[in-house]
């Protein structure tokens, strides 16, 4: 990555990089001014190493979340209770694979390679969203994921459409459009259950009870414990604090839960007239930290399945590469 960065800098700025500190200060000023003016940083622009590294980490982990996130939902494809629901769920999981592809492409504009990032995922050196370490135990979980998990993701991601790094911002515009659609479908699935038989209603309530708190944890640790927040906000990668986004999400969900005819599992949840927001109960940060450390209900299972798919697919990728080498001699020469 360092090599790619140096290469791009040299391409954009000639040999100026060799002048050392003074030139770097100039670049830094241009970068700061671009960010201050709310303009976009593009792949060939100079950027601080730490900005590049932060973005690679964040975009990669976002991509990993999309592909690990296929698992809890794909778990129900073969059991979907109607053909219409089955089609919707398949389309959704397919979209997630597509989002993973956009995001790996965005990370690659920063000099990372998809292969290397996947290796980091498989070896636990990069993370994915903690939410996907929870199991999907009933059909209603598919709806709860759509409504709550995708809802939280959208709340997080809409501000990223204005992120200072152009390729990430543009990927987010496409991702958010599709996510909003999934979120509405999840809501509609829960609504059908909630208005269905007593058993279906109970299934929906149980799923919401299990997914509510983990969804609130998706916004990350509280502001006073968030390691990267201040720098990311200064760089305009992030636009709002974790707690601010979490509050916004709760405010959106409460009336939606009411219209669903379902309750949220928080006895402290109530409207605060003075603040103009809902107050809500304390989050179990011990659970959050344990899940992040790998001790959630499905951490082991998710990574094992991902690695197995990758390892068992190695011979297929090797065959495709061998075929390409045999049948595209020009590509072979260019790569040599």
């Amino acid at each position: 990555m360092a090599t790619a960065a140096a290469h791009q800098t040299a391409r954009t700025h000639g040999n100026a990089g060799q002048e050392g500190g003074i030139a770097d200060e100039t670049y830094q000023r241009v970068f700061d001014a671009t960010v201050a003016a709310d303009e976009r940083i593009e792949p060939r622009d100079w950027m601080p190493d730490a900005y590049r590294a932060t973005l690679v980490r964040q975009i990669a982990q976002h991509a990993h979340s999309e592909i690990i996130g296929m698992q809890p939902e794909a778990n129900w494809i073969t059991r979907a209770p109607s053909l219409r629901r089955k089609a919707i769920l398949m389309a959704k999981v397919q979209d997630e694979a597509g989002h993973g592809l956009y995001l790996y492409s965005a990370a690659e504009t920063l000099g990372a390679s998809r292969e290397d990032l996947l290796d980091k995922l498989h070896t636990g050196r990069q993370k994915y969203s903690s939410i996907f370490n929870y199991p999907t135990l009933t059909w209603a979980d598919v709806g709860a994921i759509g409504w709550l998990v995708d809802g939280a993701a959208i709340t997080n991601q809409v501000p990223l459409c204005r992120c200072s790094y152009g390729p990430y911002a543009r990927a987010m515009v496409r991702v958010c459009k599709e996510e909003s659609f999934h979120q509405r479908q999840g809501y509609e699935l829960l609504l059908a259950l909630s208005r269905g038989t007593p058993e279906q209603h109970a299934m929906a309530q149980d799923a919401v009870d299990r997914w509510w708190w983990p969804s609130l944890m998706m916004f990350g640790p509280p502001d006073d414990e968030s390691a990267h927040s201040a720098q990311s906000m200064a760089w305009k990668i992030k636009r709002h604090s974790n707690d601010e986004l979490r509050r916004r999400f709760v405010d959106i969900c409460v009336p939606q839960a009411e219209s669903l005819g379902l309750t949220l599992p928080d006895p402290d949840l109530k409207w605060n007239e003075e603040r103009g927001h809902y107050d809500f109960g304390p989050i179990d940060w011990t659970e959050f930290k344990e899940v992040l450390k790998g001790n959630g209900p499905c951490n082991e299972q998710r990574i094992t399945q991902r690695k197995r798919a990758h390892d068992e697919g190695a011979w297929v990728r090797e065959a495709a590469a061998a075929y390409a080498a045999k049948h595209s001699p020009r590509t072979e020469v260019e790569q040599a």
């Binding site: 089609a87 059909w139 058993e199 399945q305 068992e312 495709a320 075929y323």
Partner: protein, 246 residues
């Protein structure tokens, strides 16, 4: 099934609609099992895409015969009319590709002919033939890569093509309600599949193309052992909540 139409022509249409609909439904289900397990992200997208196309076809075809969900979720194994080929377990990627190559080539020839006809299937076939052409291309491209890639992939592809060969004959048996005899598709199918396998450095397998059992096969509701388990998984939630809507 409960809405058996009185006129014989309609009954024949129902027979064919069920058979073709079950083919698409069952293969779609098998492809859905790949999701989250594919060898590369692009194949997660491609296999899901094909599964979705097939599910769309299944929904139209089953609706021609009755209620799509009643037919998919409330029939038992002996009432399904799909060919045994599509219910075969995914196996490795080569196995899945061989199944796709055999079936999509057949489906492409069939829909191409139906689209040109005047049967009740003409409309569906005209739309579906475009999807199926893409499925066939996908299977062809992978058959070439596996057959003519590495030695390991070649051997896996060869084994897969051989293992599934005995299920290919059933596709060309007569089917009530179609205004064509599927046997007429067979020479083109052999030429097409043989040509692709030839370019992949493989040959058409030898040996019989149907199992030696006079009781019949999938079109008569006689299936292979893994099919019952597949249906158990597919139907269990729907059957656990009789009369519920989803």
């Amino acid at each position: 099934m409960t809405r058996q139409a009185p006129a014989p022509t309609a009954a024949h249409t129902t027979t064919a609609a069920l058979a073709l609909g079950d083919d698409a439904l069952v293969l779609s289900h098998r492809l859905g099992e790949w999701m989250g397990h594919a060898p590369v992200l692009e194949e997660e997208v491609a296999l899901a895409n094909i599964a979705l196309d097939l599910l769309g076809q299944a929904r139209i075809l089953l609706s021609m015969a009755g209620d799509e969900d009643d037919l998919a979720y409330l029939r038992e194994e002996r009432a399904f009319r799909n060919v045994q080929l599509v219910e075969q377990p995914n196996g490795d990627f080569a196995h899945t590709i061989a199944r796709q190559l055999y079936f999509s080539t057949y489906q492409h020839l069939l829909y191409d002919r139906l689209a040109a006809g005047r049967s009740p299937f003409a409309g569906l076939a005209a739309k579906a033939v475009k999807e199926v052409a893409y499925h066939r291309d996908h299977a062809e491209q992978w058959a070439l890569r596996l057959g003519d890639g590495t030695d390991v992939a070649h051997e896996r592809m060869r084994r897969a093509c051989t293992a599934l060969w005995r299920f290919t004959g059933e596709m060309f048996r007569p089917l009530d309600g179609l205004d064509l005899d599927p046997a007429g598709l067979e020479p083109d199918w052999l030429e097409s599949v043989g040509g692709i396998l030839g370019r992949a450095g493989l040959a058409l397998p030898e040996g019989p193309r149907t199992g030696a059992w006079t009781a019949g096969a999938g079109r008569e509701g006689l299936h292979t052992e893994s099919f019952g388990r597949m249906l158990a998984e597919m139907q269990h939630l729907h059957r656990s909540h009789p009369g519920a809507t989803w």
